[in-house]
Subunit: 429 residues, 2 copies
């Protein structure tokens, strides 16, 4: 597969968070899987690149691939179901019994095949996702993700307390299986699939387990994902469980599971994080995975994303299937804008709603930063690219600007309207 090529079309991307760059009938040069440059005319392209194969997508929007910073792969099977409970009841009633099914490898293969097929067809080019506690099923998920061509960080989940008999590990078993999982991953020699440590959340993990995972993360410079300050009852529970901490984020931090020293960490939700908590996130470089659909569906609330942006905290978007009902990050863009307007209206009028440019930044460069130079068409960025088709949204307006066309796509189109997809310069379709 050639990883050097030229694309022609209508380019839209962010360099900075509050402004979209647009080039009508522009050219994007990809060299060895990285963006070499974007140009207004063919003439501007360097002579040494002009002979690259040209794919002419004239009239189509060409945008960076999107990053889903938080999803539960095993829950995709029940996306859009059972949306009538809050977090803790929903976990016990629906989520845990269904995650237990992944002990059965035949079931796991069937379910994960559906998820990874949809990921491949969809807008996501980078994914950070939970598996289950089951090591072998998680390895299978990683095999399937590798096959999809989408770049991902996938985690075997750790749970050693407050969990049902059918979905729990001892502390020792949890660490042993985590190590076995990491060893198996090493043997696989994946190109696009990386392990990420995944303590479910503090209520599911003893202090001992959390500290062991923190140590493992530090020793091997492994990324880590978990949940933070999603739901009011959950936060109260964490207070009871960690009376020695100054808060939920501080508890993770004191146990070595909250970034810092260059370790990549992503925390899902952060709906109710105080300024102390977000300050610690900024200090440690922790990413917020903003999951607006999930936070509405589970009646959790609205994360103060404007505040996090003002504070300089890293933020990306997330589907959080299946708390989030939808697997699409395009949908998360419009959801994020909509809930930010309700936050503005009801909670704090000093926090202006997110603009399209800002929410699209979160979906691309913002979340993409978790993976490095990813989510933009600036020079040197990895070439994650979507080519879009707008024929499902006809209009008599023939003078729309490129950012307006992107806005329409975000609000109205879906996976079926993505016609070509490239990840690290590899064309998936």
């Amino acid at each position: 597969m050639a990883k050097s090529f030229i694309l022609k079309g209508d380019l839209v991307f962010n360099k900075v968070k509050d402004k979209l760059e647009t080039i009508k009938d522009g050219f994007l040069v990809c060299k060895d899987g990285e963006v070499e440059g974007v140009y207004k005319s063919f003439d501007e392209i360097g002579d040494e690149f002009k002979q690259f194969e040209l794919h002419d997508y004239s009239g189509h929007l060409i945008v960076p691939g999107l990053t889903d910073l938080h999803a539960h792969a095993p829950q995709y099977m029940f996306r859009g179901l059972w949306m009538d409970m809050e977090l803790l009841d929903w976990l016990n009633t629906h989520t845990f019994p269904n995650e237990a099914k992944y002990a059965d490898m035949d079931f796991a293969k069937k379910a994960y095949r559906i998820y990874t097929n949809d990921i491949k067809k969809g807008a996501t080019t980078r994914l950070v996702a939970f598996g289950t506690i089951h090591t072998d099923a998680t390895l299978m998920l990683m095999d399937l993700m590798e096959e999809s061509g989408v770049v991902s960080c996938i985690g075997k989940v750790n749970m050693d307390r407050n969990s049902p008999d059918y979905l729990v590990e001892t502390t020792e078993e949890s660490m042993r299986e985590t190590r076995r999982w990491l060893e198996e991953v090493c043997k696989k020699d994946y190109k696009n699939t990386m392990p990420i440590l995944t303590p479910r959340f503090i209520p599911s993990c003893t202090d001992e387990l959390m500290k062991d995972l923190g140590k493992l993360s530090k020793e091997n410079n492994l990324p880590l994902q978990s949940h933070l300050s999603e739901n009011l009852s959950e936060i109260e529970w964490v207070k009871e469980l960690c009376p020695w901490s100054e808060g939920y984020g501080d508890a993770y931090d004191k146990m070595g599971c909250f970034g810092g020293e260059g370790r990549k960490t992503v925390m899902a939700h952060c709906v109710w994080s105080s300024e102390e908590e977000s300050g610690l996130m900024k200090k440690n470089g922790v990413f917020v995975a903003h999951s607006p659909s999930s936070n509405s569906n589970l009646s959790s609330g609205i994360a103060p994303v404007r505040r996090y942006l003002n504070e300089g905290v890293n933020v990306g978007l997330a589907t959080d299937v299946a708390g989030g009902s939808h697997g699409s990050i395009f949908r998360a863009v419009s959801d994020a804008i909509q809930v930010s307007k309700l936050y503005f209206r009801y909670i704090d009028e000093s926090m202006k709603p997110l603009t399209l440019a800002e929410a699209f930044y979160l979906a691309t460069k913002g979340g993409g930063a978790f993976f490095g130079k990813c989510g933009s068409f600036e020079n040197g960025y990895e070439a994650d690219i979507l080519v879009l088709d707008e024929k499902s949204i006809p209009t008599p307006l023939d003078d729309l600007k490129l950012d307006e066309r992107l806005e329409r796509f975000v609000y109205l189109a879906d996976e079926r309207d993505i016609i070509h997809k490239y990840v690290r310069g590899n064309q998936l379709f």
Copy 2:
């Protein structure tokens, strides 16, 4: 076209607002365009109906058609665009200049053709919509709606103040054109298309015009649609404009434009209606067109739908394109549930979130009541029917209940997943 037939499939519908009726592998008998009955087995069907043609949709969900209680047909052309303003700025900057284009009949035909094609393909079987102030373009919209087979109430808009030069009428002209429009409609002999008086909202209509329209409505028992208590600045403005009233709804009422005496009236939004205002709505039988997408997009707020249901006010769902970004009432169902959860979380914890059954009721029987016996599969209801396909949402779960399958469809599927549609027993596709 035969309007008597039997459908076989998985039936889901509401009789009451908080419970879904489900019949797996059931039979729906339609006689002369009305539901004769639903049955668990073919044997239960009356002998006189057994010879009706049977359409076998086994394995597919069959649900009542959906009612869109409020949309702006001319704004469909810019759905999903320019979502960065509140109501009054958005009207002046984008909406009014674009509505002015409908003075040009060629443009109007092109734009309305796109809208009515999409309505035909979509979930909406009953529509209450605004046109523009332009009589001839509104008549063309009505012709195209009639051609679509979807039942609708369409209104020529009235605007005689606080409007730009290029989109305003004198009071006299507005009434004269309204009368001409009604006369033309009479000549058309539509089967499925009805006129509805349409003062834009109080800020756009003088007291004199409102009173004349109220009188016309009363004399001819004509339905009426407008907007109510959508946005805080709008409400302040109405207070200044109608100092003689006790509020926005009361102002409409005192000018004869707020239902009562059996006149059908629908008011869009009602985000900020007081208990006095909703009390008047209940007394007069006024319908609330709940538009959750629009109310988020324009930072208006969240309508207290649970309160209206508790009070016994008529409520249906609405897309409100293009304040609402989406033309789908399925989408409005999930949007209504999601915002009701944020209302519960942030505004009033005594107001429980809407359930799927309740939100689906609003989309079918709730809003359908504006058209009479419409939006259910109870005996004697008009046969508005959708046959759904779930293949775009694969899952390894093979034991889902019918109401769970409907929930998934509501959250995840779209127009492209509707495979057959009947309105008043006529098969549209």
